[in-house]
Symmetry: C2
Subunit: 229 residues, 2 copies
DNA sequence: GCTAAAACCTGACAAAAATCATATTCCTTC
DNA sequence: GAAGGAATATGATTTTTGTCAGGTTTTAGC
């Protein structure tokens, strides 16, 4: 296993690529490699973070507890994502909790490395800014979808998103398998409604299932549904 | 009217306060003061912006058109806000359109000023980053509210938000008067539903109205409703 | 102050989604 | 491979919300 940040491919996908060689070296010396098992938390909502997590492998769901007691997944973070950046930069407690959706490999990077580099390396600051700007745009899109689309459309969209971002296995099933309950809290609906709609999609030939694994059978059909036909 | 950025109080509320004197001077020389009448657009969704808008007075709604043809207001920008920062920094077309909710006074600042300063002044970059981090957190909260709260709760919350952020006039009415339709597109609901719920709130003594003007009569009641009682 | 247009309001109905209850299947663990 | 628990599935019902269709009031412009 390659253990130096300088040679880590994952870095290409995130803001760390804008760091200088020396800065990266410091990060690499300070970082702590960690394995997190499926279902285990990286951190809880309201916690103060001492650094950020760079995802080497696996997927984490970032969610927030609503006053009605239900969890809402705000984002899925996968290979290359840097988790906790927002709170570390703002110097605030986290507004989200992070839980591993499958087995993960992550590197913890102390906040000093991040904050120092931000102050000294404008290239890096601007790169982080670009990433954050992108996240903000995505968040705007989610807001519009949540408020203007039906549950059926949002579920269809979720499957297309999963296929696009995590791909499929050899048999064509979605590579990232989420429980129906997780899908519900991504989409923001009751678990029963989610299951019901998945059944409906099966009957209509949009999806095929095998246990909890799901395969998209009619991508175009789903896309049309999202657009509102 | 004070026309130099260096002396503009509005600047205290936004990221421009982290600029140096010389940088600010350049901004001041380059900026263009503008008045925008109620209902007029600052820019449209999908447009490429040549700079950002600093709000001196008035309020603008930032909204996005959904595929179902309805507008969703994502944010209300008021005195001190800098509009268009996200797209200018990401170098992308705007994902939102901006329309004046009441008469506005704004300063247009060319993007070169912003981008140059970002590259040269880390203090400024970090300050912008902090603001963007804050916006991102707010967006997360909106996502959770949209998906987990009822329309009734969201409307109650909207009024509390309006009172908190824009205050009340001498008679106690909300200082920012939005049409029922605008409220609907903030909350993400049908105009009729919005009107119906406002009527209900009146009957229950939470609100009082006079024409389109609205006064919060029972703040605590509204708060409890938002919490889910 | 008059008038037209826009905004607001209300009722009746339909559709969407949540909730509650109860099967059934799947998957782990012994 | 059997037992038990968790996840998935489905039915019945209620609640919430949207839509359509008509009213009334307010507001802006002359």
């Amino acid at each position: 296993m390659e253990s130096r940040c300088e040679n880590c491919i994952v870095r290409q996908f995130n803001s760390l690529r804008a760091m200088s060689k020396e800065e990266l070296k410091k990060v690499s010396d300070a970082k702590v490699f960690k394995k997190v098992k499926k279902g285990e938390p990286l951190f809880e909502e309201g916690q103060k973070l001492d650094g950020v997590f760079c995802v080497r492998d696996g997927v984490s769901k970032l969610s927030k507890l609503s006053t009605n007691g239900k969890d809402q997944v705000v984002k899925l973070a996968t290979k290359g994502a840097v988790i906790g950046q927002r709170s570390v930069i703002a110097g605030e407690h986290t507004n989200l909790s992070a839980v591993a959706v499958n087995d993960m490999e992550i590197c913890f990077v102390p906040k000093e490395n991040i904050l120092n580099t931000l102050q000294k390396n404008p290239e890096y600051a601007v790169e982080v800014l670009r990433h954050m700007a992108h996240d903000l745009k995505e968040a705007d899109d989610v807001i519009v979808n949540m408020s203007q689309k039906t549950v059926k459309q949002r579920i269809a969209e979720a499957f297309l998103y999963l296929q696009q971002n995590f791909g499929v296995d050899k048999e064509g099933f979605l590579a990232l398998t989420l429980s129906r309950e997780d899908i519900s809290s991504v989409v923001g609906t009751a678990t029963e409604s989610c299951i019901r709609i998945i059944s409906e999609f099966k009957k209509k030939g949009y999806l095929e299932t095998s246990g909890k694994r799901i395969k998209i059978a009619d991508e175009k059909g789903l896309q049309e549904l999202v657009q509102g036909f």
